[in-house]
Symmetry: C2
Subunit: 211 residues, 2 copies
């Protein structure tokens, strides 16, 4: 049994955390949560996360229980990426760019892509206004990432000269776009960035969790 | 002229930052951005924030330019709240609860309340499905904050025994709810918490920026 336990499901948010755990090379136990039957709203799970959503991570080595992908990624970086292979040092300019774009990912890319997903796949009626609103905004957001990538002269990463938790967060939802009829090919740098992240072996492995 | 310059407008996201700057007792210059004419999408502003949204903060004393309210609040706490009057110490359990709920605020409360605001006040047609979807989810989210407050035995705060950046973030959007036909009175602790935050003099002052 590992000190780390991940409660997750095969969703864009779930994959972000399994991908980062794989990149860090950490051992972790996985408990699949059946979100179709709303297991994440059961009392025992609300004790771990009052918001009733996956993913949630319990770290028995520190006593920390944490939810929200942006917070989990930052916690794992702070705790297990001490040599800063996937993050920048606390308090530096790069750290705050990483944080700004990480929050842009969880506060705009995630929720807006999530709304597009709902109106494309789940809503019982087709609502053209909502479909247009969210597909337009998803493309705008990808355009912002394209601009960020074009400004970074240090490499094909969102911040600085290496992959960070911010790239991982953005990848999680970007990976769902083909199923939402969004073609990222018109975004040249974003497409290349996406392919380069997806090709990493730990990313591929993270995308199979829970298996 | 102050080292701190805040580009803002009178919105829930803008108020979060002016409120925190007032609570910290910092001097700062304000530049009002005319969001009705989309000034935030102009080239000069995109140099500061590629996402083209207010608020954005420039700190000439550190060379940091930062956007996204969750990131700005954390930056200001790290930099100007060294005695932890409005935040918890980096790496502690309280720090990660503060971060988790801060991200819950910017990744769910903000975007979902924002969608309700759009479909209530801005959309050219009334779409009952969308109005119901977002008003239901806003109430669910307030219910999560009610649960968080009920579990905290240390005081009427989201984390621990004092006000933090997380309370400030949640307050920003909570303050918009009366205009969205959401009555928070049915949430006993959340209503009391809201009134206690709103009564603070620096909060009142922050709500007048830009004046």
């Amino acid at each position: 049994m590992s000190d780390l336990k991940l409660y997750t499901a095969g969703t864009p948010n779930g994959y972000k955390i399994s991908i980062f755990l794989e990149l860090l090379g950490l051992k972790y136990d996985v408990q699949r949560i059946d979100i179709r039957s709303n297991e994440q709203k059961q009392e025992w799970f609300l004790e771990l996360n009052p918001n009733g959503r996956i993913p949630t991570l319990v770290d028995n080595s520190t006593g920390v229980t944490i939810s929200q992908t942006g917070a989990i990624l930052q916690y794992l970086a702070d705790t297990y990426d001490k040599d800063h292979k996937f993050s920048y040092k606390f308090g530096t300019k790069e750290y705050y760019k990483q944080l700004e774009y990480l929050i842009f990912s969880v506060a705009e890319q995630g929720p807006i892509t999530g709304q597009l997903s709902h109106f494309t796949k789940s809503a019982p009626e087709k609502i053209p206004y909502a479909l247009n609103r969210y597909s337009t905004d998803v493309k705008r957001i990808i355009g912002v990432f394209e601009l960020i990538l074009s400004r970074n002269k240090e490499g094909l990463f969102l911040v600085g000269n290496h992959l960070t938790i911010t790239d991982i967060s953005v990848f999680g939802w970007a990976n769902s776009l083909p199923r939402l009829n969004i073609d990222i090919k018109e975004f040249e740098l974003f497409s290349k960035w996406f392919d380069s992240v997806k090709a990493l072996e730990p990313v591929q492995k993270g995308l199979t969790v829970p298996n």
